[in-house]
């Protein structure tokens, strides 16, 4: 059996990759993809903690159910985020997040 910390280490690496992509990529679609990577790292953590806790034996499904809800929210976030990116592209001919600065004071 793989010990718990190895799952957590992989999730940490995946989350750091997502942070790097979200901070540094110029393309808004690439930033959204990096956010999806971060959400997946969180999901690995949730399922791993649920599996390795003693309470997973007696029908306490908090980690399992929470992961399912994170998946639902990620789907909603991707749909709305891509709709915003497409609208910004249509209006400003750009997918660079810094150029969508109409609300900047």
């Amino acid at each position: 059996m793989v010990p718990l910390w190895m799952y957590l280490a992989v999730a940490a690496a995946l989350f750091s990759l997502g942070v790097f992509g979200a901070l540094s990529r110029r393309n808004a679609v690439a930033v959204l993809m990096s956010v999806e990577l971060m959400l997946n790292a969180v999901n690995i953590n949730l399922v791993a903690f649920w599996r390795y806790s003693e309470t997973s034996t007696d029908l306490l499904l908090n980690g399992y159910a929470f992961t399912a809800f994170v998946l639902i929210v990620a789907a909603a976030e991707a749909a709305v985020g891509l709709a915003i990116i497409i609208t910004v592209y249509r209006n400003r001919r750009s997918v660079i997040p810094e150029e969508a600065a109409a609300l900047k004071g």
């Binding site: 995946l14 997973s56 749909a79």
Partner: protein, 170 residues
Amino acid sequence: MELNAISIGFVVFTIFTLGGGIGVVTTRNLFQGTIWLMVSLFGVAGYFVLLSAPFLAAVQILVYIGAIAILITFAVMLTRSVTRIKTRYIRLVPSLLASLALFLILLLGVTMPIFGGVSPEHAPATVASTRDLGAALVDENGYVVPFLLASVLLTGAMIGAIFIARDDTA
């Protein structure tokens, strides 16, 4: 860590997950980036199988690879961003340093017992099944309220996405 099917699967899915993740954040062509994203999400689905959550693995493949990755592919093609952006990165060095520092802190936190507690080596033998999840989702002492709220959220997100992306001139 002895050599058995779970260990081999763990190594293989680690290669999938992290290799795909590196591909997502480094590739120049965003269309290839979505392919790398699918590889990475597939690796995460493999972890769910190893962690005895087969329902989540199926949902991961259906929702992420089947829907979200296809949606991102559509967005990449609709925005035709490949030709216009010359450089891949802004703030490359600070982002690299920040994410490396974050990774080292997280790695220290999960390997050393600095926050107290012991990291378990073995998972419990018995585990709740998909049937238990289904019962808990509609149980009034379980997750029925978040379950219904998730339905409302998905409906709202669907209507909102259509409304935002609608072409007013058409």
